[in-house]
Amino acid sequence: MDLYREEVMDHYEHPRNQGELVGDDIMTNRDSNASCGDMVQFYLKIQDGVIVDVKWKGIGCAITTASASKLSEYLQGQALQDLRKMNEEDLVKKGIGFEINPGRIKCLALSVNVVKKLLGN
């Protein structure tokens, strides 16, 4: 089916930017979906208002994992002031780039919510 197309499955099976960042200049935050046991934590390294490094870790379904992976790629090199202008819908559309049926929207929203917390949106 379309949702589990090659790109999504590739990000699920080979998630990009997985790991942790440590240091005083690292921003980190996490969120979870208690109802499915999923958890995602993002780490951002910021220099002069630009994200210079992104890592994330978490557990989740294919959609949660693939969307966190995709979003981590998108965030790399972005200016905070640009990201702060984006709402949830923009982050899903541009940052993740795939659509999902309403019953699974929480899987996409998990990573987006973590990033929104970090940006203070």
Binding site: M1, L3, C61
Partner: protein, 414 residues
């Protein structure tokens, strides 16, 4: 014995397609589908008899009141109780809340014990937690407490642990008749007898039992029995709390206002007789009429046959799913002790991913914790998949489920 393939024809929604495939509805444990006769009964109520019940001396008011009363008597006969012991509520959750608040807050105090089990639906755990919180004076101190009985590896209530917990001399013992997540049928008669011996009242959550087997509250011997209409072919928004007359008589009301009073003065009121005392405000009369029609439908099939069919489908499902690799089936292997559903984990694939792929093949199942988070934690499982059944479920539905699971294998390569 009825043929579920014939039964299917009575359910209009089962004729539709989902994602280009015929709908295979295996989520009846969440809510059952409704036969046309139930839909017609509700429609007929609104088209021909609708008025507010117990109010106004006019023909429609009388007809509506009579239908509402007929529904109550139908329910009472169906479960072996008296009609003034049948309280109409919205659903099982509301029924348990009614008992927890109206009985619990008057009868439970500091250090009193409520015994329940780890396999409860949140509906039979959280209301008791809330009552416990409110018995703490001052707030934050230890009030009453909940003791939770464990389960065996086979997914049955651990009766040794149950007997241990009864030594706390609980005031209330609340447990599920059929587990919505494990499908286990609990030995409710024996558990009730033991609880009574320990001096407790017994409340049974019958939401997943009433749709599948003949229930007689007097034979069980319990004090409260709660269930929903919408899981037994009836409409949403109508449910039942059955309670023993002498307990209901001395209980405080749950909700207050219109309909439940005898006389009202500006500073006080006296309350109506049973069951009106517990039915404040305009009731869901149309829903009650729909539930009456659902019971007629089940009675026409025969509850013994309904259980026979349930058992056949459970057996067939276990047999078929056992042959699918990477599945871990939850609950007992003893099919005689199971009803209504089979839950499983697909190893290496998240339950929600499995459910979405099944849905793409037209197969509707439940995924998640099925409102049993403590049970899932206990099993060490974050989420599971549940296929659940009703009288229209056919062996071919189960075959389609197994076929659709092959699609999961294709997508995830395991």
């Amino acid at each position: 014995m009825f043929d579920p393939r014939e039964v299917r024809k009575d359910f209009p929604i089962l004729q539709r397609e989902v994602n280009g495939h015929p709908l295979i509805y295996l989520d009846s444990g969440a809510t059952s589908q409704k036969p046309k006769s139930v839909l017609d009964a509700e429609r007929d109520y609104y088209e021909n008899h609708n008025a507010n019940v117990h109010r106004g001396a006019h023909t429609l008011g009388d007809e509506a009141t009579q239908l509402y009363q007929d529904a109550r008597e139908k329910v009472a006969k169906f479960i072996g109780g008296r009609s003034d012991e049948v309280i109409f509520v919205r659903n099982t959750t509301e029924a348990i809340n009614l008992a927890a608040y109206a009985w619990g807050l008057d009868n439970l105090k500091k250090d009193d014990v409520i015994v329940t089990t780890i396999m409860e639906h949140h509906a039979n755990l959280v209301p008791w937690q809330e009552v416990v919180r409110r018995t703490a004076v001052p707030a934050g101190r230890q009030g009453a407490r909940v003791e939770v009985v464990g389960i065996t590896k086979d997914g049955q209530v651990d009766m040794d642990d149950y007997k241990e917990k009864l030594k706390f001399k609980p005031k209330m013992v609340a447990f599920v008749h059929v587990s919505n997540a494990l499908g286990t049928i609990n030995p409710v008669r024996e558990m009730t007898k033991l609880a009574h011996k320990a001096g407790a009242l017994v409340l049974i959550d019958g939401a997943q039992a009433v749709p599948h087997m003949r229930i007689n509250v007097l034979e069980i011997g319990c004090d409260f029995y709660a269930f929903s209409g919408h899981k037994m072919l009836g409409p949403m928004g109508i449910g039942v709390l059955w309670g023993r007359h002498e307990i209901l008589e001395i209980m405080s009301p749950f909700l207050t206002g219109g309909g439940m009073i005898d006389e009202v003065f500006v500073d006080r009121a006296t309350y109506a007789e049973l069951p009106d005392k517990f039915e404040a405000g305009t009731p869901n009369a149309a829903g009650a009429v729909g539930l009456m029609s659902a019971i007629e439908y089940l009675e026409n099939l025969g509850m013994e046959n309904v259980r026979k069919h349930d058992l056949q489908i459970v057996e067939y499902t276990l047999e078929k799913l056992n042959k699918v690799t990477n599945l871990v089936i939850l609950g007992t292997k003893n099919t005689e002790l199971r009803s209504g559903s089979v839950s499983f984990v697909y190893e290496g694939v998240h339950a929600h991913d499995v459910a979405t792929i099944l849905d793409s093949e037209g197969v509707a199942v439940r995924s998640g914790h099925h409102c049993t988070m403590p049970l899932h934690n206990h099993l060490g499982v974050t989420a599971s998949i549940r296929a659940s059944f009703n009288v229209y479920t056919t062996k071919s539905d189960i075959d389609k489920l197994v076929l659709a699971l092959q699609k999961v294998k294709q997508v995830f390569g395991k």
